[in-house]
Each structure stands twice: as structure tokens, then as C-alpha cells.
Symmetry: D2
Subunit: 296 residues, 4 copies
Amino acid sequence: MDSPVTLIALLYGPDKPGLVARVAGWIFERGGNILHADQHRDMEAGVFFQRVEWVPFFAEAMADKPSGAPDKMAQAAEEFCAFATTLGMQARVASSVHRPRVAIFVSRADHCFHDLVLRGKAGEFNGEFALVISNHDDLAGIARGYDLPFHHIPVAAKAKAAAEASQLELLKKHDIELVILARYMQVLSGEFLDGFARPVINIHHSFLPAFAGGRPYHQAHERGVKIIGATAHYATSDLDDGPIIQQDVAAVTHRHNVDDLVRKGRDLEKRVLAQAVRWHLDNRVLAYGRKTVVFD
Amino acid sequence: MDSPVTLIALLYGPDKPGLVARVAGWIFERGGNILHADQHRDMEAGVFFQRVEWVPFFAEAMADKPSGAPDKMAQAAEEFCAFATTLGMQARVASSVHRPRVAIFVSRADHCFHDLVLRGKAGEFNGEFALVISNHDDLAGIARGYDLPFHHIPVAAKAKAAAEASQLELLKKHDIELVILARYMQVLSGEFLDGFARPVINIHHSFLPAFAGGRPYHQAHERGVKIIGATAHYATSDLDDGPIIQQDVAAVTHRHNVDDLVRKGRDLEKRVLAQAVRWHLDNRVLAYGRKTVVFD
Amino acid sequence: MDSPVTLIALLYGPDKPGLVARVAGWIFERGGNILHADQHRDMEAGVFFQRVEWVPFFAEAMADKPSGAPDKMAQAAEEFCAFATTLGMQARVASSVHRPRVAIFVSRADHCFHDLVLRGKAGEFNGEFALVISNHDDLAGIARGYDLPFHHIPVAAKAKAAAEASQLELLKKHDIELVILARYMQVLSGEFLDGFARPVINIHHSFLPAFAGGRPYHQAHERGVKIIGATAHYATSDLDDGPIIQQDVAAVTHRHNVDDLVRKGRDLEKRVLAQAVRWHLDNRVLAYGRKTVVFD
Amino acid sequence: MDSPVTLIALLYGPDKPGLVARVAGWIFERGGNILHADQHRDMEAGVFFQRVEWVPFFAEAMADKPSGAPDKMAQAAEEFCAFATTLGMQARVASSVHRPRVAIFVSRADHCFHDLVLRGKAGEFNGEFALVISNHDDLAGIARGYDLPFHHIPVAAKAKAAAEASQLELLKKHDIELVILARYMQVLSGEFLDGFARPVINIHHSFLPAFAGGRPYHQAHERGVKIIGATAHYATSDLDDGPIIQQDVAAVTHRHNVDDLVRKGRDLEKRVLAQAVRWHLDNRVLAYGRKTVVFD
């Protein structure tokens, strides 16, 4: 078997002595073998973070009888979370045999959409694109070409709540665990985010906190900066203020007009969003407060 | 002779047909040979910018009688400026035999100071460091080690005007043509900038416009960004808002605490400031409005 | 009119005084207006290079009667080339109303192919993809999805000459002016390159000259380098040795296995190849000897 | 106490289940608290690597009676190494209260030398520069300015063995634990490296394996590459072939002549060498075969 079946835990809580040893010991005593363990201490905040990935003892047995795997994995995950609670930690455990279902929200720009889907086909993501939702129907044909269900839900200024209710219904019906805003040009309300209660990743076309808000490439050109950037972050009800997952930049000069910035920016947006999505789906990202810990 | 004696003109003004040809023709008719000519059009603003560098006809003759060079160069520069006026352009002409005298303003941090002086000794700048001015005396010994005159001018909260008057007097007395704020931790007043009436280059330790103001590395750490940066810009009376000459960034992760950001930032600050100073002294930078054109 | 009709000349030859002025003067005397002029001197080799773009006097008139444009442009181009000859220079003149037809050669990898076609649809290239040629039929469906004619020409070890003859016939029949090797895994013979006699751009998946030859990501992993790269170059009969147009790199660590390098490399290959193709189609690249001058 | 007293172990050996738990358990049972633990598996080679840093139980007690610290640390280190042997692992343990003595070898170029010493003064390195050795006396004055003992040991073509013997004697006498070749332009013999038997870090001014050997900037200019680089590696008797610790690159264009490459390269060399030295002195680098694992 190329990649063994593993469990991946992300945990965090108040720092105290012995955490690394106790987590490793718990896994070892149950016959598990740790493949990767990475941790971080926020010294100022006194918080301990860990990502640990291990092969549980029953993984080999599962090769013969894979049908029982999800149950066993779910049980092991539950036991680990209970153990983490005894350490005063919050934990989230994912299984490598589970591929989350993902929805992509788009508007009219198609570059991030193409990029995500093609990377998905190339096997870059541990998840399945299950659904496309858009406030416009421009990309319906492209989605069809990729065999992806496309839902056109217009968002009228006065009927945003109704539109968001339809979106939420779709997400629940399809058991979506992650929403990607791939240049979706609508702000999601706090009600939507609370209602979904799962992660939403957005791509902002500037190196936040610079040029928050609309038309960042116009702002950048106006200000005469020598770099432009893109920022992937978890969406929160504070616009452009959620925990940053990844950022990257490119050099520009006076020779670049706004159209050039837009073109160069498309490359940044694709790369930065894809990297953030990959890390998230590999269970490498822990958000806390306004920040993230990325175990890359 | 390795590098020939040249004149370098920076000019800009309303765009109109034929400017490139007329400038090239003017130089050619006077026996000059253009080595480099670079131009830029700001299509939106309708402004034409040009940097042109040429060997004047008398350059070879000067090899025999170099004493007359400055006069001839000055006369040619004056004639070119007059010609530019007839095109409706503003021009500034520098001669490659003239090395501007430069003052460095410092406070307590020494990294940019060491870096600038050592690069100067390595021949990276077309100018001479003539003077160091500081509101503290911490770096007096280092300046002495480099044989650079050091002037300690404390800036008391209530006596800023007096301190700036002393600074201006020194700059005039030593015929300083460029001031570099090498992590000088005082804001220069509009009166000082008007009084000096020559360029002042500052290094700001963030990728402006993000984290303007004080303690940018603390702000960056607090916000959880994944990149930090530095910005070299011409100082104006609007703090952190002058035309940007150069910016660069470095990746950071959750593992970096504020001290790490400061350490990584020192490298950025050195590199970005040195690059801006080199371009300025090579007469490659044209500031207009809040922007720069850098003919690199 | 957003973008005016222009002529773009790329010229080079032995350096001598007055070239910039004479080229600018020639254009000016014929009523042309220079939009951009960039030049370079290779001091060691004594060679002068220039890219000059201008609006010819008849451009406005053409707005009314566009049918006559190609003829006038062709005539102006011819006249300029003749003029360049009198300066001892070689010149190539392109018209902004002409969009070259481009063929893409692929094998099994599809990332550069998707990337080029999608960028083409987004308007990033001054050319038309007219033809896809492959030694495998894996990408036939994708090409069809993009409405691009796909030709499967297998290259048997002993029948390479025949395969190349078929390829050449297609290229001539479709009047192809540029071939892009988008991870085409066959070496083109000197006979093919001579027969085509037009530019061929290849993407090599390493930062040449490191890891020339096959399986560069395996070589890089074996050597333990901390950066990987990609190189776009004009193909010559010396494998991996043609003039380099563009290179870029990405950092890697011991954590990346060969598959990770391949994945990260795909992003580099897409970006580097697309940039080289864009520059080439914008008439910004002059190859001479083993090098290129890129007027970006 | 800002930074607690810690022990840092670097270990590697054949991979097997339970290693993470057993190492963590051993430390925990002895009252130690793990601050950082990072590991890596080379899946292809079946090798396990770990860096683990912990506060030993006696660290607090040491605050009162620091004189006994080195003994206790040495004993704990010895015990850990014995334990690692029982796991089939090789281990090296360093104590955070020990600052290794470092020798810098230079020739005539001074940029890396200045850079290292100034970074040392700024507190960037966990070590002490104790000695400068050079085959020329050009930098004697600079070393004196920094209060560093300077030894001029000329290396005549026929008397290399004698020169190296003198160097080795100095290194032993001063208990040097790391040698940095800061643009030292002599090749060290296998005999010297065996005789020293401790790490030697070299900076090569190209992105190895490209342009190995002499005059890499000339080679790069000749080849027309669009990036230049620098490589810090452990010196081995195979010239330019030792395990790579760090590499970085910078973009160049046709406008840059060899002198420009040299100037831009100096910045790369300084940065890359300093980063490699910092990582090494922080006990973050494990060399094995031709590669390194860098726990950054």
C-alpha cells in the first residue's frame, strides 16, 4: 500500500509540561505508529498546538476487510478527542480515508475555478468538488464541461437572506464540509457563516491588510506600490479580517497598468488559493483568534 | 577609459507625438552619442517620462584636459534643460563626473548604517557619504571607525524646530544633495523638508500601505500575516505616504515571534534601502505625484 | 480606439554612434509616433539591440478603411527593414494587427496545455492556437473540448524522420509561426528545426544548466537541492542548450519527496512557459548566440 | 528567565514503529519538558530523523547554582546518547548554555566577513567568532577593528600541506568546533577535513549543481541564465559536492554585466551563508549522505 491509512489530529489548548510525551504515549500504548508530529508553542499566549498523524493498530487488518474501516476510524477519533479533553485540549481528528465534499462559490471570473478543478483532477486535493454555486450563470457551461452540478442562485440586493437560505439548504443537502469562495463577489453574512458552521476559505486580491475592500488592483496602481499580492483567509463576519492562511506577492513596476496588475494577480490568486485549500484539506491548518498555525 | 563621461537627463511632461525623436535628434545634432534611452507613458495621465544617457561630443577631448570638464558639462546640462522647456517638459540633468554628497541620519539601530557604508566602500553608490547626523550618540564610535563626521543633535520634544535648524545648517554647509533616513526614528517636519528642498529617502519596516505608523513588526505579528516587508520611499510631510521607490518581502510563519520578524526585517530593510539609494544616485528615479518611475 | 495599430521592430547589429537618433529620426520623418523604444548594448560583444514600437502615420486613416491595413503595414515593415540594412542592422518587423498562428506539441502531461489554452482564452497572448500535435492520443479529448484540431502522430523509434515530416507538413499547411513544446517528450531533430525555420519554445523542468537531460526532479531530489526550477528556452539542435528566455524557481525542503517536486514543478513550468510565450508573441525577445535579450 | 536552559538532540537511524513515543517517554520519565520536537522520515531510504529540544528537570535548580550546570548537562547528554543507541540511532546532543567557538577563513573578499561579524554582534548566532585565518593579509586591519585574532597563513602551491598543518594546529589550540569558509579561495584537502573532523561550511557563488568550479558568475553570464544563486554546503573532499544546507537566487536580465552579477551575488552569498551558519549553530541541520535535513 503506497500511503497507509492514518488518523490526523489537530489539537490546541493551554500549554503545560509533558503534553508531547502524553500524546505520543497514548498513541503508542494503543499500538499506533506516529508518522508525523509537529507542534508549536505560542509563548506569549501560553498556548500549545499540535498536529499528529499516526497509523492506528487496526490499519493493517483493514487491508483485508476495508468495509469496517470508517467505523473503526470514527471510534478511534472519538476516543482521541475524549483523551485530549482530559489534557484540557480541544481536538479535531480526521481520517485519511475520508474525503470531504467541497462547494465552490463563483461569480464571473473563471481563473480560480478552472485552476481548482484542474488541480483536483490532478489529485492535488484530499477532497471532492461536489457543487458549484454562483450568483451569475456565466460559468454554467464550464461547470457542465467538468461534470460539476451548477446552481445559479441570484443575489438581489433586497433578497440576500433568501438567497443565502437557498445556499445553506444546498450545502446541507450535499453534506458540504468546506466552502471555497473562488472570486465570489458577494459578502457572506454572519448568519450564513453561523448557519453553515464549517470553514469557508476566501481569496482576496491584495496582500492584506493593505488594500482591503473593493478594487484592490486599482488601489495598488493608484498608490504606486512595487509589489502586489493575494491573501487566502478563512471568512469571518468581519470582512477581509479573517485568519490568514497564505499570502504571496509579485513585483510590479511603473510599466504595469491596472490590466497588467489584474493579469499578474490572477496567477497569484490561483496559487495562493490552491495552496490554502490543499493545506486545509490535508488538515494542516489550525485557526485561533485572528491567526492560523499552518503545519506545512 | 572603462566608463565614458556621460550626461543623464530625467525629463517628464505632457505626452505628445515626436518626443523620442526630437530628444534623440537634439543630442545627435550636437555630436552626442546616446548610450541608453528609456521612456514611459502614463496613458491614463497623459504624461511622458524619459531617462536618456549620452556621451557628449567633448567627452573625448576632456580626456586630455579634464579640468575643463565640469564647466562644459554644466553648460551642456543647462542647454538641454532649456531645450526640454521648449518641448513643455521639466528636466533634470546630472553628470557622471559629479558625485553628490550624502548625509545619513540614524538613531540607535546600526544595521542599515553599516550596510550603507560598507556598500559605499565596495563602490556600489555614485555618491559620497559626507556626514552622519543622529538624535542619539550611540553610533558615534562606529561612525568614527568609518572616518565619517558624526553630529549628535538631540531632538527634545519641545525643541524640535531648533534641532531641525541645526540639521539644515549642517546640510547646507556641507552641500548635501541627498539625505538618507537609515532607521532615523524622528518624523521630519514639512518645514525641514521645504528648507532642505532636496530628496530625502526613508526606509519603512513594512510593506506599505500595510502597517503604516509605529511598531510595524508588532502589528504584523498581531495580525498573523504570512509575509513581512520593507518599503523605501521619498519622505514627504505626509508620514509614510511619500512616493515608493522599492519594496521587498519575506515569508514568515507562525513559528516566527516578533524578535524573528525584527531579525528577518533587518535584512529586508538593508536590501531595500540600498537598492533605492543606488537607483536614486544613478539618476534612475523620477517621482511624480505619489508615485515613482524607476528606469532600472 | 483602446490600443492603436502599431509596428514593432526588433533590430540588432554592430554598435556605432547615432543609432538611437537615426532610427527615431527615420520614424519621425515618416509621420510615425514612437510609443516605446528600448535598447541594449552588449559592451563586451559591441552589439546594439533595439525594440521600437510606433504608430505609423496611416494608422488613423485605417480606422475608416481597415481593409487596406495589412498591405500598408507590410510595406512599412519592408521599408524599415531596408533602412535597417543601411545601418548594418538586421531587423524583424511585426504588426499589431497580425496574430501569428501557434501549434502546441504535447505528450501525456496536460498541465501546461490547459494553462496555455486558458490563458489564450483570457486574452493573454497575441496569437492564435491553431493546432495540437501529439505523439500520444491521451489529450485528444481535452483538445476537442477546447475546439482545437488535434493530430496524433506517433513517433516510433525507427520512424522519427517520417513522423517529423508529417509534423512539418501540418505546420506549413496551417501556416504556423511558432511551435510550443508543452512538455512534449520527444527531442526534435536538427532537420526538423531547419525545416520549420521558425521559433520553437521548449519548457525544461529544471533551472538549467543544472539537471539537463531526463528526469530532472529525480536528479534534484537525489542531489538534495533546496530550490527547484523551470526554464523556457528556444529549442536548438543542442538539447537543453538553446537561448534561455525565462527561468523561475521555488524553495523545497527535505520534506518534499519526488512527487512533491513534480507537483510544485508543474506550477513553475506553467508560469515560466506562459511568460516566455507571452514575451515572444509581444515581440519582446531577441535571440543571439546562446542568449536572449528580453525587452520586458 | 527569558530562554530556559535546554538540551537539543539530533538523531537518526533506521525507521521503526514507536520511535517518537519512546523518545518522548524517555524525556518525560526523567522530568524533562519537550519544547520542540520535529521529525522526518525518508520513506525511500527508510531512515528516521529527529530534532528534539527539552528543558531537563534540573534546569530550574540550576538557576540557583549555575556552576554545576555544564556537568549535569554533559551527563544528561551522555545518557541520552546511550539511550539512542539502544534504539539503533545515532545521536548528537548540544546544550543551550554551550556556545561553540568558530573560525572564519577568508581570502581577499570582505563582504561575507563583515556580514558574519556584524550579525554575530547583533546576536544572530549561537556561537563565538574566535579566530580569523587567511591566505592573504588584506583583511588583517578589518579583523583588528573587530578585535578578532587574525592569522595570516600563506598557502604556497608546493607547501599546502604545511599551511594546512598550521591551520589545524590553530583550530585545535583554540578548540574550534566550526569552520566557516567565507569566500576562502583555497580548496581544503581531504587530509585537512579528516584532521579537523568537525563541520566546515562553505559558500559557493552559484546555484549548485549549476556552475560548479571557478568563476561561476562569468559562466552564468556566458550562458545567459535569467537567475543567479548561491549555495551554502558542508565542505567535503569532493569539491562543490557536499551536502547543501541552503540556496537562494536572484533574477537577472540581459542588462546585467558580470560586474552586476558579482554585486548582486554578494547579497545572495551573505544571506545564504548567514542562514546556513545560524541553522547549524542552532543545531537544526543533520547531514546524511549527500543531503541535509534542516529542521527550521
